[in-house]
Amino acid sequence: MTLPKDLVAASATPIILAILQKEDTYGYAIIRKVQEISDNQIAWTDGMLYPVLHRLESAGFIDSYWRKAENGRRRKYYHITASGEEECGRLISQWSVVEKALQILLEETHT
């Protein structure tokens, strides 16, 4: 089961922000992390992550810096800002409203 496009688009921002809340990281690692936590069910086209990251950056939710990895490759790391954390909290509470509503409906149909 893979998620439909609309749901992927809507969930991208909270997922990215939540990942960055844990630690600064770079694009490729974000993709791997998403695959790992969703059992490959959330499948992003790798390249589309970057426009989203840039949009979040220009909105001031994250900022970025370049860093050299041990193998000499330069990677662009992203770091969540204070307003990004605020936004993350807001989005996640919105999602939990939906989740809770679905949960209640599910319980009602089973009882």
């Binding site: 490729y28 790798d46 390249g47 050299k68």
Partner: protein, 488 residues
């Protein structure tokens, strides 16, 4: 034999081709691609297969380019231009070309308005044409931006009305011998009008209440013409338009001269026709045409202009240094010859323009974003990594500009105390003080940047916030000076 490096290079060229991705965007995607390939080859997949899979995972190049192009409204035009097979885009391109040609011609027609009032001869009434020239050249460019950027019509037309209103004002002001205030108007009018053009370039500032609330920092998110990046883009745009205009102008001049020479050989004197029609239409229309070309052929000029900036920065430094040397050898000249002061100011204006331009052409995502190194297991933030030689050269240029400006200021002040306030000297005094403030701001910015106390972005921000000061002063010279000095 599969050559990974050459394949990656080809892929990068392909990404670059649409022009919506910057070099740092591509570097980021490349590092993603390489990570992806590394991981795949660990699973005993050949390099060639790994490359293909990794590219495929990154997604359709044209879709990525489109997404990047959507990122900033600044780059919206690229979306309109790139897919030439899209019938809507083709139509819009054709309409744009017609509009640009129309506006270019209308600039020439505007310049014939004085002829209706009996001031047709450009050579006799050159001051009149000089002071109105900015209006003829920039009003059509402003209309072009209103169309191009689909600006809100009502507000745009209110701002656009500044053009005719200022035309009334400067032409209704009387002018008496020796016409100094009129000459100052001619010099300052274009400066004020360029800033007016910034409004049309960036569009009106929209208060985005939603994002303001979110960030809790009302007023920090400047949009439209107030936005720092927009202003920086405008500086770059102005510099590139200037280069284009000079190139096309020179070409036009050569062509006109050859044409006129040929006509002369067959016994027809076309010079009256040229000076009455070809020259004004060509000259005043040049700016709109150049503005259009800068947008159309962005990639082309983007690669020439930074090179020009790099060539001229050391050359200007040499000129400034030799000026300083000349002053040390003949200190009195600077005070006695008033023309010298004007030349000093002219060079300083160019230096400022150049440093502004090289600021806008600098790809500072590379050199200023912080780079971290692992040290004792913790990340040490090194705030910046300046492009040392280049930044040092720019700083040297600005420092010597301050010295030259100091010489000019002392010259003006000594002349002021000797001959009293005249329009020219007062205007020069104001300009030099503003310039000095600006240069000192730049120097403190650069010093803090070298000490790694602030990012380059901060210098740019301060500089862009300072820009309107010039516009206000220029407008002041145009509006207030004539009555203040009895229109002399």
């Amino acid at each position: 034999m599969f050559d990974l490096e050459s394949q990656i290079r080809k892929w990068k060229t392909h990404l670059l081709s649409a022009g919506s991705l910057g070099h740092s965007d591509i570097e980021e995607l490349e590092s993603h691609l390489r990570d992806s390939i590394d991981e795949l080859t660990e699973r005993e997949i050949t390099q060639e297969e790994a490359f293909l899979i990794a590219v495929r995972r990154l997604g359709d190049v044209s879709v990525i380019q489109d997404e990047f192009a959507k990122l900033s409204t600044e780059d919206l035009w690229r979306q309109l231009l790139v897919p030439a097979d899209n019938p809507l885009a083709v139509r819009r391109n054709r309409i744009e070309l017609i509009i640009v040609i129309g506006l270019t011609l209308s600039a020439g027609l505007l310049s014939k308005i004085p002829a209706l009032f009996g001031f047709g001869d450009i050579e006799t009434y050159n001051l009149l044409y000089m002071k109105n020239g900015g209006l003829f050249a920039f009003a059509p460019a402003a209309i072009y931006f209103i169309w191009k950027r689909s600006l809100p019509l009502l507000r745009s037309f209110i701002v656009l009305s500044i053009f005719p209103l200022s035309a009334f004002l400067i032409n209704l002001y009387p002018s008496y011998e020796p016409h100094h205030t009129e000459f100052l108007t001619a010099l300052h009018m274009p400066i004020a009008l360029i800033f007016l053009l910034l409004y049309f370039y960036g569009g009106p500032a929209v208060r985005n209440s939603k994002s303001d609330q979110l960030n809790g920092q009302a007023g920090k998110n400047r949009t439209g013409w107030q936005n720092t990046n927009t202003r920086l883009n405008f500086v770059r745009f102005a510099g590139e338009t200037f280069i284009y205009a000079v190139l096309i102008g020179l070409g036009g001049l050569v062509l006109t001269l050859i044409g006129a020479g040929t006509f002369e050989l067959i016994g027809i004197d076309v010079f009256p026709f040229i000076s009455a029609w070809v020259a004004p239409f060509g000259f005043f229309g040049l700016f709109t045409a150049a503005a259009y070309l800068v947008g159309q052929k962005k990639n082309l000029i983007e690669s020439i202009a930074p090179v020009l900036a790099r060539i001229f920065t050391p050359l200007f430094l040499l000129i400034l240094l030799s000026l300083i040397t000349a002053y040390i050898i003949h200190p009195k000249q600077a005070y006695e010859n008033r023309d010298m002061l004007i030349w000093f100011d002219l060079i300083l204006a160019f230096v400022l323009g150049l440093s502004l331009y090289s600021m806008s052409a600098k790809d500072y995502t590379h050199s200023t974003t912080s780079e971290q190194f692992v040290e004792n297991g913790s990340y040490v933030d090194i705030l910046h990594k300046p492009h040392m030689l280049w930044d040092a050269l720019t700083l040297a240029l600005i420092l010597s500009a301050v010295i030259v400006d100091g010489i000019a200021l002392s010259g003006i002040i000594s002349r002021l105390s000797a001959y009293g306030f005249s329009p020219n000297k007062t205007a020069a005094l104001g300009e030099n003080i503003i310039l000095l403030t600006n240069l000192i701001l730049l120097i403190t910015g650069y010093v803090r940047y070298f000490q790694a106390k602030q990012s380059f972005q901060k210098i740019v921000e301060v500089q862009m916030r300072f820009l309107p000061v010039y516009a206000v002063w220029a407008a002041c010279v145009v509006i207030v000076f004539p009555p203040l000095f009895n229109f002399k």
